[in-house]
């Protein structure tokens, strides 16, 4: 991640400073977006996406719980909740392994934020939904299969 940006965010003013700076033209929108991990988000397979987020061989962990449906009602809006019981969780990443671009998002947690992220994701087909957790300098992972069907009766 862009070191300058990380330091700005760590300052007391936090993210508000970034927003003000963007508004003032000091930090151009493209610069703010330049920190976005393009390589990882545009990776076309889960291996490259994992490499892109610096998780080359995460250890399987039973302390990561993924709450997601067995069969998605609608692949466009699949509720996914990741809870990490691993002490010192500093980041949760979510991937949908069979999506054309598997990385869904990375969530850095600071300032008392717990190992918990809840969101809704798009899935192109039945696939493992994978969570990767960074804690104490190491990476951990767990996955859950979510089936996606092509429904017929929705009208």
């Amino acid at each position: 991640m862009n070191a300058l940006r990380r330091n700005v965010l760590k300052s007391a003013a936090g993210a508000s400073a970034v927003a003000v700076a963007v508004a003032a033209g000091l930090l151009k929108p493209t610069q703010a977006m330049a920190a976005w991990n393009k390589a990882a988000f545009e990776a076309k397979n889960v291996g490259d996406a994992m490499k892109g987020i610096g998780a080359t061989s995460p250890a399987d962990s039973k302390d990561i719980t993924i709450k997601a449906p067995d069969i998605a009602e609608n692949g466009a809006v699949v509720p996914v909740e990741v809870t990490s019981g691993i002490a010192g969780t500093s980041r949760i990443a979510i991937l949908a392994e069979k999506n054309a671009q598997p990385l869904v998002g990375t969530f850095d947690l600071t300032g008392g934020a717990q190992g918990f992220i809840s969101t809704r994701i798009k899935m192109g087909q039945t696939s493992l939904v994978r969570a990767v957790v960074n804690a104490g300098g190491k990476t951990y992972t767990a996955a859950k299969e979510v089936k996606v069907t092509i429904g017929g009766c929705g009208g």
Binding site: A15, A23, P29, W36, V77, E81, T110, I117, T119
Partner: protein, 104 residues
């Protein structure tokens, strides 16, 4: 231009439960418009940041695989009722949105 995002922040014991609903089409750039057959250009939120009383708590990078009108829920220990939550997002076109709420 973008519609306001909604934030709900409540205390559960000593943990603040924050829920955010953003308004955004989250187009991946790979969807074809049903009427024109043309690809709808990529237009999605790339970053979401949140602070509580100025302290950064969440810095997320997301892509088009997050559902339209993105929902994010997170929890912060040590926050208190009355604390101010501020959430900002930026998208791939440079559009941005900001909202704040008081933890109830």
């Amino acid at each position: 231009m973008a519609e306001p995002m909604r934030i709900r922040a409540t205390m559960a014991g000593d943990v603040a439960d924050v829920k955010v609903l953003m308004n955004h089409p989250m187009e991946t750039g790979t969807r074809k418009d049903a009427k024109t057959g043309q690809l709808v250009p990529a237009h999605f939120i790339t970053e979401v940041d949140a602070t509580i009383n100025g302290t950064p708590v969440l810095n997320a990078e997301i892509g088009g695989a997050v559902s339209k009108n993105p929902y994010l829920g997170f929890k912060v220990k040590g926050a208190k009722a009355g604390d101010k939550v501020v959430v900002n997002w930026v998208d791939n076109k440079g559009d941005k949105n900001s909202a704040e709420a008081t933890i109830g």
